[in-house]
Each structure stands twice: as C-alpha cells, then as structure tokens.
Amino acid sequence: MNAARKNPFNTYAAHGALILYTLIALFPVFVIVINSFKTRKAIFREPLALPNSDSFSLIGYETVLKQGDFFLYFQNSMIVTVGSLFFILLFGAMAAFALAEYRFKGNLIMGLYLALGIMIPIRIGTVAILEMMVQTGLVNTLWALILVYTAQGLPLAVFILSEFMRQVSDDLKNAGRIDGLSEYRIFFRLVLPLVRPAMATVAVFNMIPIWNDLWFPLILAPAEEVKTLTLGSQVFIGQFVTDWNAVLSALSLAILPVMALYVIFSRQLIRGITSGAVK
C-alpha cells in the first residue's frame, strides 16, 4: 500500500468528494420524493421544505392509484424492460461468444459491423421502424418495444461481452470439449457463469434508459393498454394545467422497481467494474 493511500487527509478528501457528488446526484430525486408528499400549495410555496403536519398530503398518490390503469402501466414497463434485457443478454452473449471463440471469414468485419450500432443512434431510424411496425402489425404491442430496445442494446452488449469472453481461459473450454460437452453446454455452463459480472454491467447500462424511455412508447405503443409508466405519467401533464402532485407521486413510484433491479445486479456490477483492478 502506498503512502498516498495511507494518508488520512487523502482518505477524507476522497470521501468528501464522493459525498458531495452523491448529494448533487440525489438532490433532484430528494426534491421529487419530498414534494410528492405535500399539498399542491405547499409545493409551490416552499419547494425545498420537508412535509410537515400542515403540508403533508397523500393526494398525489391517491390520484395516481385511482387512475385505475396505473398498475397496468407498471406491468407494461416491467415486461418491456425485463423482456428486452433478457433478449439483449441472450443474443448479445451468443454473438459475443461466436466472435470471441470461433475463427471464421469476416470475423473482424462482423465485429465492427455490430459495434457500429454504438455510434449511430437508433432514433434516427424512427420513421423506418414505425413503417416496419405498421406493416408487420406490431404497432401498439409490447413486442414492438421489446424488439426495438433489444436492437438498441445489442451493439454495446456484444462489444462488452466479447471483450470479457476473450479473457475466459481457452484451456477451460478445451477441457470441456475433450470431456465431450457440446458447444451449447460450454457456452451456458462454463462461459456464462464466468462472465456474469459483465452481464450485470450490460444489464444495468441498458435497464435504466429502457425504463425511462418516452420516445418509442409514444410513437410505437401509445394505446392505453400498452402504455409504459413514463408515458402513462404524462397524462398528468397538461398543456395548461399540470397535476404536480400526481406527476411527482408517479415518478416516485417509478423509481422503486428500477432500484430493486439495480440492487439485484449491483453486487455483480461492482465486481465487473473492479475485476480488472483488483485481480
């Protein structure tokens, strides 16, 4: 351990910087959550005050929950996010394995082609995607969203996972081949468990943008029964009147599921990010 790490001043400075950053990052969330428990007047009078016995009100939550479809929106968001993550990880890992493991003509070109998607935003193709969805009859289905998000997430997933898969020992895969394991079993039983931290990293990177996305739900699936949470919350925002209680309550509720998913992945995520540093 070097001197810089032992010096208590440096430790405090590092913690100070991290705490400051945490405060800045959490501040908007904090404001949303406290205001969601206040009356409308209290929100505008003192936006930064904590709710007290005068200003405390659950009116926002009541509105949100009375709006009967809210649970449906929740469910839709969940299905879309989990479904997309599943397909991104499954197909991403498979493509990454093929690129990392097999020598074939055009391997490098294929890798570059797949990585190209990282640089080109998928939204540029929105019109074409919409036309395609209309023709295939997928408009206003959750499948439309799952397919688009899978396509959007795959390039980064392939890029990150193939890098990790290259690090998995060749000897281990060869030992499996000599013991008579099929390529599928080598992939699912030997390689995937070893790249689990990388999978978690990819999952977290993809999960939050998908959960928060407003663009594609608005364009591809605006029908009532397939609305996602972010789109559903928009009903409270009007051109002339906005029901701030309801908006803030809806947003507060929307934070919970992603947080739960994040907690599930985070242990693996931290291992993924630090695996190079501490090994």
């Binding site: 000897d171 060869n174 030992a175 081949r177 000599i178 013991d179």
Partner: protein, 333 residues
C-alpha cells in the same frame, strides 16, 4: 501397436505455417516429450493431436484409427492443461466424473474409476471441495485425475508444471513419472523446460519453427545431437560454441564443447579470464571470456577456489567436442 502416428501433418493459420511436415510415431506405453523454445509449434501440435485444431493437411492416427474428422471427446485421449482448467462450479469428484457422465457410463463404473483415481493421487480429503479451495499442486493433481478416470489410449500434457513453484514442480514431476510406470499408458508431454524433457522422456522430440529437429532418447540427443540447435537446447548450463576454435573446423563452422568437458589445466589450448563465478555447492560454474573475446561456461564438480578476474587456461578431449558446419549441421571432426 503404435499409439499415435502422424503423417505429413501441416498446420497453417492463414499465411503463417505453424507446423511443417511433421512425421512421428509414438509406441504403446511410450513417454514422449515435445520440447522446444516458445513459438516452435509444440503446443499447436498437441492441439492437433487432441483435435482442438484441425490439421491443414496430413493424417493423425490414434490407436490404429485415422481421427482427422473425429471430435476430441471421441479420440480416446485425455488432456492435462497448464492452467489446470478445472470446472469452477463443480466439486473435485464431479470434475473427474463429468467426462464419464458425458460418455453415458453406468454409475457404478464412474464411481469405481473416480475412487481409484482419488486413491492413486491421494485426493480423498478434498473430493467434495471446489477447485477454488485447493492449492495449485492439488488442482493439478485433480486435473491429472480427471485424465486418468477416462482411461484414455493417449495422455496429453500441455506444460502441466509451468504454474507450480520449483519444489512442487520436482515432486509433481516424479509423480507423473510414477504414474506412467503404474498405468503403462502412452503419454505425450509438452514442455519448454529441458530438465523436464531429459528426466521424464523415453523419447524426446525437439521442435523448432514448426519442424522436427531431432527425435531420440534423452542420452542419444545429449551425446549425439544432429545440429547446433539441439546441442545448444539440451543440457544445463548449455553447450559452449566457439567460432575461433583451436581445432580444424569447416569455414564459418562452430566448435561445441559441453561445460563439463572443459577442465582447468596449467597449459591448455584455450586461454581466458574468469568474469563470473556461480558457486552452487555441489558444483561451480565459471563464466570465462577467452582471449579471442568469446564467452564460455566451465562446469567444475565440487567446490573450487577460482576467483573473478583470474587468468586461466582450459583444455578438453577432442572426442568430447562437436563440430558444426556453416549450416549448423553436425560435421565430422
């Protein structure tokens, strides 16, 4: 019966030719060591035999069957890897049993064979542990056990001792030699370490740049190397090569003398000064700069009082010297 026959085996990766026309036989029960510097193709050759790489041309024949198109699991081989390559999610017992389960062997056979291997390798205390709870030496024993239970026609070892520390390396080396005696199985062993090659092999195959340089028993290669490369590769400290020799040698040729064949004499054919002394207790190595500005190593048995900077004269028996021509091939003295 021959355990393995390689006929005109070539292997290229794109433009690069890694193995060039390899012809080789391994007899039943023979311990063959592939040795050579890194990048000489020895590991690739092992992988071709195992079926992990396809030969670009030529045939691989294991136990009488041409196996070019046979997948690794059906070739009747077992392999031990440098990095052990144990399955991290399985216990020691399951690591050993997996190959047999894949072959759909009956449970009783699997248990019996695993039990036998565990006993042979003294692993009884660890059978239910995961590989991550074992030391390097134990892991390598498990990997060897995994090979034994498959009862293969041919064992393949890919630098199995390179990840072990020196003391453990020696012990495991002896264990492998004992294993070979007990099982009397055919084994191929790849290493870059000439000591392992000399101590384990019935037959050494010296490889360089994808070509077989020489094949023979350890002492044949040591006493009668076909060329300068083999002469320099085997033996430690390695053979001295002199361009300006005190003997008649071919033009641009080289004289080779093993360090132990040089002796200090009052009046000799080679004169020089000692530049470094290595005292190992059992023997003493002197590094000498000759008056012709060439470097020599002299190996003296026992302890010796010679100091750095001393002027000494050296001599040797002519029949102990080797002569190599300009193409580095062996020439007559």
């Amino acid at each position: 019966m021959t355990a393995l026959t390689l006929t005109n085996v070539h292997k290229s990766f794109g433009e690069i030719e890694v193995l060039k026309d390899i012809n080789l036989t391994v007899e039943d029960g023979e311990f063959v060591v592939f040795v050579g510097p890194s990048g000489c193709g020895k590991s690739t050759l092992l992988r071709v035999i195992a079926g992990l790489e396809d030969a670009s041309s030529g045939t691989v024949n294991i136990g009488g069957d041409v196996v070019n198109a046979v997948p690794p699991a059906k070739r009747g081989i077992a392999m031990v890897f440098q990095s052990y390559a144990l399955y991290p999610h399985l216990s020691v017992r399951d690591n050993m049993a997996l190959g047999l389960r894949q072959e759909k062997q009956p449970k009783s056979v699997i248990e019996e064979r695993v039990e036998k291997a565990v006993e042979m390798l003294d692993l009884a205390a660890y059978v239910d542990r995961r590989p991550s709870d074992l030391s390097g030496g134990q892991r390598q024993r498990v990997a060897i056990g995994r090979a034994i239970v498959r009862d293969p026609k041919l064992f393949l070892f890919d630098e199995p001792l390179s990840n072990l520390d020196a003391a453990l390396r020696m012990n495991t080396r002896i264990e492998i030699a004992e294993l070979h005696r007990t099982l009397s199985a055919s084994m191929i062993y790849v290493t870059h370490d000439q000591t392992e090659a000399m101590t384990l092999a019935d037959k050494i195959v010296v490889l360089r740049d994808g070509r077989v340089e020489q094949v023979g028993s350890p002492m044949e290669l040591y006493n009668n190397p076909a060329n300068q490369f083999v002469a320099g590769f085997l033996g430690s400290p390695s053979m001295n090569f002199l361009q300006k020799a005190p003997l008649a040698i071919p033009v641009n040729g080289t004289l080779g003398i093993r360090p132990e064949h040089l002796r200090i004499v009052p009046k000799g054919r080679i004169k020089g000064a000692v530049t470094h002394v290595e005292r190992l207790g059992g023997d003493t190595n002197l590094l000498v700069a000759t008056d012709e500005k060439e470097a020599l190593t002299v190996r003296l048995f026992g302890q010796n009082g010679t100091n750095v900077g001393e002027k000494i004269e050296l001599d040797f028996d002519d029949h102990a010297a080797f002569v190599f021509d300009a193409e580095m091939q062996r020439a007559a003295l």
